[in-house]
Symmetry: D2
Subunit: 137 residues, 4 copies
């Protein structure tokens, strides 16, 4: 898998809070790292999620996730998390993401995440407004 | 410090998620453990916090906390968290709590927590309703 | 999908620490809940993971995970996490797990987890000792 | 309390993972934020904690912490965490830290943390090597 130079990349440092007694990053934390990258990817496109929630009454929720753990990340590692849109339609966006060692771009974890746009109150799917969806192209 | 036989006690098991690469329980997690014990202490008195929030429009928030770490807890340890009221008045309740090894009651962490009852929406202090406050005696 | 009466079930209560500002359980936490259930499933078969690590020099690490989020869990919900072995061979065990509402057994999240037995120090795959693997039948 | 222009400051963004169903940052997370700032403060002085652990056989552990919560932080807030040494001697360093809104420097949480340098294996206090302690001045 090659990475387009345009791929969004977000740096994440591994702190003690991210690790477990096995000496490596706790497996669930990769989902946290990926969400930070998606949040910053959204912000880079001009969308602040608190404004989307309060003004557009929409929230993006995770409907599906899968993770392949290649190699463990360790305390104090400098990581890079990528974020790319694989598919988008109506209320659904599929992301492919990778967690890499920043130093050599070796892949530690490959992640697929399906996000659904839902109404803030009812939690029912809601079509992503056109200006937002367009900015995901 | 002696413990009255009436002291509320809540068991907590240490899982990988609670530990860090130092091989011990991550220091912030003791606040999580203590909150679980306070939640169960409230439940034992008949108060479900989701009902308090939705029906009484009140939430208990932590206003102050202090922790003395005596000895580290480790992966797979069986812990007991105590919960006692030190002071209560109007909108404020002060708790003293301990995290102990269940096997020998040795103290791992001593915690003081001040909780304030606030309005769900405004987050302003709100007098604790009498039946609730009485049950804290 | 029917559930054998022999399916292992572990209760999990949703505390504030598990929720996010969307009012629901944070999506990564389901992996924590599932690991708690696998840990207790192991314990019920007689295996304490700290002893496996120290005496057998083996650790179980997550190599793959996938999650389908059906419905959100909320603050104070009483959940049940199931744990069943789908496949096992040499150093690999595949689990299927579900997070359910305890009250009505409605499924909130379906999870598949591949766990690999690795050497404590080298993190290389290590055949699961026969008595342990047999107990997984 | 005035802040010297030389005070170390570390930015922290509030993600969903940091919040709870009350709509605010979960109270224990402030300890995580403060540790990130102390880690980066150490790094800025030239000390990488994985190297300190592996080469100097020393780890800094939290022995005491106290937190005063002034105002809640919320989802998507841009925060700044300060880090200053209040006292240092032998194996002990006392930090005072603040979590502020980056926009207006309003204080959300005031934190005191006592850190003790311990031996990696025995977890017994260990005098901080002179070059390290000097760099804390």
């Amino acid at each position: 898998m090659t990475t387009d130079s345009a791929t969004f990349r977000w740096p994440v440092r591994v702190y003690y809070e991210d690790t477990d007694a096995g000496g490596v990053v706790y497996h669930a934390r990769y989902l946290n790292f990926c969400e930070r990258a998606r949040t910053e990817w959204l912000r880079a496109r001009g969308w602040e999620q608190d404004a989307l929630r309060d003004q557009h009454r929409l929230v993006f929720v995770v409907a599906r996730a899968s993770l392949e753990y290649r190699r463990p990340a360790r305390f104090n590692d400098a990581l890079t998390v990528t974020c790319e849109v694989a598919n988008r339609r109506s209320a659904v966006v599929d992301f492919v993401q990778r967690v890499e060692h920043s130093a050599d771009s070796s892949v530690l974890c490959e992640v697929s995440v399906r996000v659904v746009c839902v109404d803030t109150d009812s939690f029912r799917p809601k079509t992503i407004p056109e200006p937002i969806l367009e900015s995901f192209a």
